[in-house]
């Protein structure tokens, strides 16, 4: 496989890249001078408040806004019929089922039906936050409740109410993945471990800043100016443009500082469309500031998934042959980014192991719950969790040492690049070394002794390993696995680096950071390529669709910035370098290729006397182009704009075979926890993470991402659950009921790393940050280790009650060994 760029070593220096540079973002944030969604003051700003459904499933029988119109400050509202007439339904990845209409997904409840608690029904605008709240509270909506479907397993039964009448089924997408010959493997394996059902629960990274959308409409130019934490600006633009029948180039999307996204803010286009329509209708700049409660209703949940009829084929010597299961993925009331999750998991089909046979029947299923959005580890962590659970259960049931069993089945260092059952190519790694380091972090031998000593004390010690991959840089052709008519293939990101009129450097990336430190890492790379210092580089904060740095796939998702974002910046900087060389060569009378960039100067190689500072070059190009040879003056604008194209081919859609991801960072976690035998309470005693994301750009930032992903995983495994009751009411609609771990809940984290450069990327770096949900795997394994094989850990959520049930033998009967 070839790469499209040169490495930065062509300039000979790596003065900044690879170092733990303090972040450029920090000063403004520490001084409380950042600018988040709700920070921007705007003249005559009106506020939007949504009237939301209190029912999980109901027909709307009447809407009366007359009382709202009498609230002082009321500006206007948007009703479902109006939204329906002004918009097309949002684009859907799956398309309609054969012979059926598409589901109706609009910015307000479509088709006269609400489909989850918290679904927006009416958007109300007023001249203050208070008036908007009061006016929305004065809107009367009458409902005729319908029977809700809360459990995906019920949703696929013949008598289940149908959530989208047009599609006539609650199955949004269905497909079979069948690689190798799993039937043969199961038939001939020495052992088959069977589990009736496992469940991966619903949670979300719940960014601390909820969504904020500010929409301004300029009738003079027919332009929408949208500001908000937009994690995927061009796709968002496209979704809004097609829905609003408005040219995409007349929608400008700007983000500044973003208080976290972790994927879920990709769903911004839905409420943003309502706000934009109202802003145009009322000719007022409008802002919608999502509350925490609203965010928990519809800000995006991670995919909940049922794994049924799971079978793992294992040999006597511990070799794992293959795996099969049926997946019911609960996507909630609307597909939105789904059913892409039905393809995304296949990026890590093998998980960390040398599986040869894999067969999965996958269904994406509607329920009357909040729609799922991509959430940190999106769709891969569910699959990797079930693989890790099965590995762990097999080790327990067959008496294999959990360490040795994993070491034996891991993809081995000498096998890279390793082609998986479905044609994905694992680029590099050293899983055995990573595991050994992780075990060192928790002092594994000592932990086993601790475990022995705890026997009979009322406490139990469990030790668990979580092996996971962070697949980064999507091949969007995988969307064709879901719908072959989709035009997607490959992936790009954009970048722009320019030399301003005074010789200062400004860089813009298409990636949109929400805490990952893009300004920092971009500056490190650009400084090296231009021979400048880190402080010389100014990096644009956030994203701006008008700055031409973006491509269609731009944004921050799928662990890719270190590859795509940095790749595009490298390419853009090279273009700028080339222009600087052209100008300096012309002025200094040297060949452009003999110009080197160093110390803020463009110098003739091996001739210290002949050099031009960057400000002189900028001055000549911007203000004295007449002094340059025409062929140089015509070519240079001192703006390097480039894309990075990830080298992908189209997969074979029949076989569902091909490379879907460019890089695979790995994370191995190990933990020691203690369980109170009487209460089921767990306490994490030691926690270690070993990360391998190739060549680091900023090791400090990488460690921070690993810490953050670990906290999400630990909190999800033990505390966080978007549960719904039988009526479809969300039981964790705020941070009181949804317990996001605090510092007091968290153990100290011990970090180490391995560096396996990627052979496929510009500087050997791999995308990272999502973390693959390793703590969920490790904690489940540790609880299982403490329980023994008396009870079985078959759910990813393990609050004290679940642990206590396991100690008493729960679910043991669901696991069989043949």
């Amino acid at each position: 496989m070839s790469t499209t760029t040169q490495t930065s070593t062509e300039t000979g220096t790596r003065a900044w890249t690879g170092r733990a540079m303090p972040r450029k973002e920090d000063d403004r944030l520490l001084r409380a001078e950042g600018e988040f969604g709700d920070d921007t003051p705007i003249h005559r700003l009106g506020h939007v408040f949504f009237v939301r459904s209190p029912y999980a499933h109901a027909r709307i029988t009447g809407i009366d806004v007359s009382a709202a119109t009498r609230v002082p400050g009321y500006l206007g509202c948007l009703l479902p019929e109006e939204a329906a007439s002004l918009t097309e339904p949002f684009m859907e990845i799956q398309g309609p089922p054969e012979g059926a209409e598409p589901e109706v997904d609009r910015c307000l409840a479509g088709g006269g039906v609400v489909r989850f608690v918290g679904e927006p029904v009416v958007a109300v605008a007023a001249d203050s936050r208070e008036a908007a709240r009061d006016a929305a509270a004065a809107v009367a909506v009458d409902y005729e409740p319908l029977r809700p479907v809360v459990d995906a397993r019920d949703a696929v039964t013949p008598d289940a109410p149908v959530i989208h009448a047009q599609t006539k089924t609650n199955v949004a997408w269905e497909g079979l993945y069948d690689w190798g010959d799993v039937e043969f493997a199961l038939e001939h394996a020495d052992h088959v471990i069977s589990v009736d059902e496992l469940h991966f629960h619903r949670f979300s990274s719940t960014p601390l800043e909820c969504m904020v959308v500010t929409a301004q409409y300029d009738p003079g130019t027919d332009f929408f100016h949208i500001t908000g934490g937009c994690a995927m600006p061009q796709i968002t633009t496209l979704m809004m443009a097609s829905a609003m029948r408005h040219p995409a180039e007349r929608i400008r999307i700007v983000s500044k500082d973003i208080g976290g996204s972790f994927g879920v803010k990709i769903g911004m286009y839905v409420p943003a469309t309502a706000v934009a329509l109202l802003a145009r209708k009322l000719r007022r700049p409008l802002r919608w500031t999502e509350t925490r409660t609203e965010h928990h209703y519809m800000g995006g949940h991670g995919n909940e998934r049922w794994f049924r009829d799971v079978k793992l084929a294992v040999q006597d010597d511990g070799t794992v042959l293959g795996l099969t299961y049926e997946a019911l993925d609960d996507v909630g009331a609307y597909t939105r980014y789904e059913p892409l999750g039905a393809a995304i998991w296949t990026q890590v089909a093998n998980a960390a192991y040398q599986l040869k046979h894999l067969k999965v029947r996958y269904r994406s299923v509607y329920t009357n719950k909040g729609p799922v959005h991509p959430n940190r580890g999106y769709s891969r962590l569910q699959h990797m969790w079930v693989v890790e659970r099965m590995m762990d259960i097999a080790a327990h049931k067959l008496g294999f040492d959990p360490v040795g069993f994993r070491l034996k089945n891991y993809v081995q260092p000498n096998q890279y690049p390793y082609t998986t059952v479905n044609g994905c190519v694992y680029d590099s790694g050293d899983l055995p070394l990573s595991l050994r380091k992780a075990l060192d972090l928790i002092d594994y031998e000592d932990a086993r002794r601790l475990q022995e000593r705890a026997r009979g004390t009322g406490k139990r010690i469990g030790i668990g390993i979580g092996s996971t991959l962070d697949s980064g840089t999507n091949n969007f052709a995988q969307a064709r696995l879901i719908n072959p008519h989709l035009p997607f293939a490959g992936n790009t990101e954009g970048g722009l680096v320019r030399l301003g009129a005074d010789g200062t450097v400004y860089a813009v990336t298409g990636g949109v950071a929400f805490g990952q430190g893009h300004e920092t890492t971009v500056a490190q790379v650009v400084a090296d390529l231009l021979g400048l210092t880190y402080d010389d580089i100014t990096v644009h904060r956030g994203g701006d669709s008008a700055l031409s740095a973006q491509t269609g796939f731009s944004g921050s998702y799928a662990s890719q910035f270190a590859v795509t974002g940095i790749g595009a910046i490298i390419n853009a900087t090279r273009k700028l370098s080339h222009e600087i060389q052209l100008v300096a060569g012309a002025v200094l009378g040297a060949a452009p290729e003999d110009i080197v960039l160093e110390g803020g100067l463009a110098k003739v190689r091996d001739d210290a006397e002949r050099a031009l500072p960057f400000d002189a070059i900028a001055g000549i190009v911007h203000f004295a182009p007449g002094s340059l040879p025409p062929e140089v003056a015509d070519e240079v604008g001192l703006v390097g704009r480039a894309v990075y194209r990830a080298p992908f081919e189209l997969p074979d859609l029949e076989e569902k075979f091909g490379n879907l991801t460019l890089t695979y960072a790995t994370q191995i976690h190990a933990c020691v926890l203690e369980i109170d035998e009487e209460t089921g309470q767990t306490a994490i005693l030691r926690y270690g993470m070993v990360d391998d994301c190739g060549t680091p750009i900023n090791p400090m930032v990488i460690e921070g991402q690993v810490h953050g992903a670990t906290a999400h995983g630990i909190s999800a495994a033990l505390f966080e659950h978007f549960g719904y009751d039988a009526d479809g009411q969300l039981t964790a609609a705020n941070f009181y009921d949804y317990h996001a771990a605090t510092a007091y809940d968290m153990p100290s984290l011990r970090y180490d790393n391995v560096v396996s450069p990627s052979p496929f990327t510009p500087i050997g770096a791999k995308g990272m940050g999502e973390g693959g949900g390793a703590p969920l795997h490790a904690i489940c394994a540790a609880i299982q280790d403490a329980v023994g094989d008396h009870g079985m850990i078959l759910d990813s959520y393990n609050p004290p009650e679940h642990v206590l049930r396991a100690l008493r033998g729960a679910d043991a009967e669901k696991v069989k060994v043949d």
């Binding site: 170092r19 733990a20 303090p22 972040r23 920090d26 000063d27 944030l29 520490l30 001084r31 409380a32 001078e33 950042g34 600018e35 988040f36 709700d38 920070d39 003051p41 009382a67 936050r129 208070e130 009061d134 509270a137 004065a138 719940t206 960014p207 601390l208 800043e209 909820c210 500082d257 208080g259 976290g260 972790f262 925490r292 409660t293 929400f514 805490g515 990952q516 430190g517 880190y534 090791p699 400090m700 990488i702 460690e703 921070g704 991402q705 810490h707 953050g708 670990t710 906290a711 999400h712 705020n734 941070f735 996001a740 605090t742 510092a743 007091y744 968290m746 100290s748 984290l749 790393n753």
Partner: protein, 182 residues
């Protein structure tokens, strides 16, 4: 639900109040309605970006300020209650010329912030802890931070930064080189 008609209800409790509050050392005057939360007044009227809103239930602590020297969450205080008091936000921490104070520098050095949304609240709580004279340990810092949620950092580096600000020798960020430029 019904909306109170602001013009006709007669009540000894007024609906609008003039307030005067010393915010970050400067006397600020304003007119607020009874229900206006302090956090909204600070943000919407004074453009104070330190206090942030991250929840509806007083759990997240992003709005933490010091009120008459005591740590408090400004989402659970009415603006009118602040009349005649002093409020300090995170904007008061750095020097006039923007130079970061010791705690802020430790946050930067130890990578104790990512998206930055919780940071102002964290800084206010940490300042209060460090000035309290309480013993600073890993556990005591974690306990002090109970009322501040961060969804990015996993807290590890925040705890280290606060301990470093207390003069303790803590683990440096991965890849840190001695004598690294700050």
């Amino acid at each position: 639900m019904t909306v109170a008609d602001h013009t006709t209800v007669e009540s000894p409790a007024p609906d609008v109040h003039a307030i005067e509050v010393v915010v970050d050392g400067r006397t600020e005057e304003g007119t607020v309605s009874s229900r206006t939360l302090l956090v909204h007044w600070l943000r919407d009227e004074l453009d104070k970006r330190g206090p942030k809103i991250g929840c509806d239930t007083g759990n997240c602590g992003a709005c933490t300020v010091r009120w008459n020297g005591r740590l408090a969450k400004s989402c659970m205080i009415l603006a009118v209650q602040a009349d005649g008091t002093e409020v300090d936000t995170a904007a008061s921490l750095a020097a006039e010329d923007g130079t970061l104070n010791n705690l802020q520098q430790c946050f930067k050095k130890h990578h104790a912030l990512q998206c930055g949304y919780c940071t102002s609240g964290m800084l206010m709580t940490a300042t209060d802890l460090l000035e309290s004279g309480e013993e600073i340990t890993d556990r005591s810092v974690r306990r002090a931070l109970k009322g501040n949620i961060c969804r990015c950092t996993g807290y590890e580096n925040i705890v280290r930064a606060i301990r470093a600000a207390a003069g303790q020798d803590v683990q440096k960020p991965h890849g840190h080189e001695e004598g690294e430029a700050q």
